[in-house]
């Protein structure tokens, strides 16, 4: 038991060091621009289609549920407003983060894990290249850029999906829907939804890189580290989402 606690503390210490050094690497030479662009391409261009599909259907489902419920109360005209708030503040950032985690986070963990197993990380160290700087920093930086961008695109598509259902299925006014959306695009809501992707991106990149770089054993170890990266990232995203929401509501002056 004592041994397990010791190991947990040691693992946490290693994780914090990796996260800190990985983040600080953004501001220290050498800058691996090519590696960062490659990561952005893999994470951004590669995830775009999935984000579009998922966001579209999330927006449509949300609009459908709300339209049905609000129609029974005679409040259908609020569909746009509630869909907008839900998507921008909560559903959009979390959904895109989960998609990103499943695709990009798993990819990071498995790629780095196979590099560990194949002694490629050892090779880097022997050549005097810092694996954190060369491999972790570009992944953190690309996630900090790409996830907010994907979230913005995902939000827009989810709102479009919501519009389609509200107008063509629930027979609401398109003008009312978009004017409700315009009304809720104030600083509080936009800021609330914009902060989260940065935090989620950092969590996914650091957790996935840590899991990948601590891979032990062969194929089984790789499977374990990839699974752990995705599961732990998802748990941390959901927990941090709650905590961020609580903090942001307080900071932005919302009363509960």
């Amino acid at each position: 038991m004592v041994e397990r606690i010791k190991r947990l503390i040691s693992d946490l210490q290693d994780f914090y060091l990796l996260a800190f050094n990985g983040l600080m690497g953004i501001f220290r030479r050498p800058f691996y621009l090519k590696d960062t662009i490659e990561q952005m391409d893999y994470a951004g261009a590669g995830s775009l289609l999935i984000v579009l599909i998922v966001s579209l259907f999330i927006g449509m489902a949300l609009s459908l549920q709300l339209s049905a419920e609000l129609a029974s109360l005679g409040l259908k005209m609020y569909t746009g407003k509630i869909v907008g708030i839900a998507v921008i503040r909560e559903v959009g950032p979390v959904t895109v983060a989960l998609v990103y985690c499943g695709r990009v986070g798993a990819g990071m963990a498995s790629e780095l894990g196979s590099m560990v197993i194949g002694h490629q990380i050892d090779s880097l160290r022997v050549f005097g290249v810092d694996p954190i700087k060369k491999l972790v920093t570009p992944r953190i930086l690309s996630s900090l850029i790409i996830l907010p961008a994907l979230t913005t695109i995902g939000d827009a598509i989810a709102l479009l999906g919501g519009y389609y259902v509200a107008v063509f299925v629930s027979n609401q006014s398109g003008y009312v829907y978009w004017s409700s959306i315009r009304d809720i695009l104030d600083f509080e809501n936009v800021f609330s939804g914009s902060v989260k992707p940065f935090i989620f991106g950092f969590i996914i990149a650091t957790v996935s890189c840590y899991m990948g770089l601590t891979t032990k054993g062969g194929a089984k170890g790789l499977r374990r580290s990839t699974t752990n990266a995705v599961v732990l990232s998802i748990i941390l995203i959901i927990i941090s989402d709650f905590m961020l929401t609580r903090i942001l509501l307080y900071v932005l002056g919302f009363t509960l």
Partner: protein
């Protein structure tokens, strides 16, 4: 050049090296033999500071590397060229980019100069034609050759470290790699080869260290090796009976 003084090392609760003590001179050609899991690769990793011993000292040219931090180990690592099992090539880069990796990291050579240097290195190891191949298009022997070329790219090492350089190769490729190892040592550069194939060890080494249960149970030259009656070593020597 390399001194191990009472070195202990373990992976978690599994003790691998138990009080290892030996010296290797700069131009010596040493083979470290032993069964799987005896800590042969661990010794190579300890020499270049990729692992730290639990206790004991490792001296490289008189400097205790066990006390050094990662960034202080660079000068030590420049003295060695290590070729990992299976080559450890970067699988997202082609042969040219793998060999050019250190050139791009540490020099300001132009693209033409890099191409010229890479071709020269690949010519030395005999696979210039594979310059644009991806690692997954290479055979096992080619992997090792590219890894050797890559390790020669920036600095001239004082000593080569080979981790199971011939394991998994057919006899022809194994012979070619052994010839290459001997070729690279002609100018007096030493090497340590870690292997469990006594046949290949005999081709490239003049001194043999045999590990058993984390300890050195034999350390001697070819004559002493032939005379040794240590039971596990006798089993290894049986392999030689099947050579002809």
């Amino acid at each position: 050049m390399i001194v191990f003084e009472d070195v202990y090392f373990s992976y978690g609760t599994r003790s691998v090296l138990k009080g290892l003590t030996f010296k290797v001179k700069e131009s010596e050609r040493v083979a470290i033999l032993g069964g799987s899991g005896e800590g042969k690769t661990t010794i190579l990793k300890l020499i270049v500071g990729l692992l730290k011993p639990d206790s004991g000292r490792i001296l490289i040219d008189g400097e205790d590397i066990t006390l050094k931090e990662e960034d202080e180990l660079m000068d030590i690592r420049k003295k060695f060229s290590i070729v990992f099992q299976d080559g450890a090539l970067f699988d997202s880069l082609n042969v040219k980019e793998n060999v050019a990796f250190c050139l791009r990291e540490y020099t300001k050579m132009s693209e033409e100069e890099i191409e010229q240097k890479v071709r020269e290195l690949l010519r030395i190891v005999g696979i210039e034609e594979a310059i644009y191949y991806m690692p997954d298009e290479l055979s096992g022997g080619m992997h090792r050759r590219v890894a050797i070329a890559r390790s020669l790219a920036v600095t001239k090492p004082k000593m080569f470290l080979y981790d199971e350089a011939t394991t998994g190769l057919d006899p022809i490729n194994a012979e070619n790699i052994c010839q290459l190892i001997n070729e690279l040592s002609k100018d007096g550069t030493g090497h340590i080869i870690v292997t469990h194939k006594l046949v290949d060890a005999l081709r490239v080494a003049e001194r043999f260290i045999f590990l058993k249960d984390g300890r050195i149970v034999f350390d001697g030259n070819i004559v002493e090796l032939k005379e040794s009656q240590y039971p596990d070593l006798v089993i290894f020597k049986k392999e030689l009976q099947y050579v002809i």
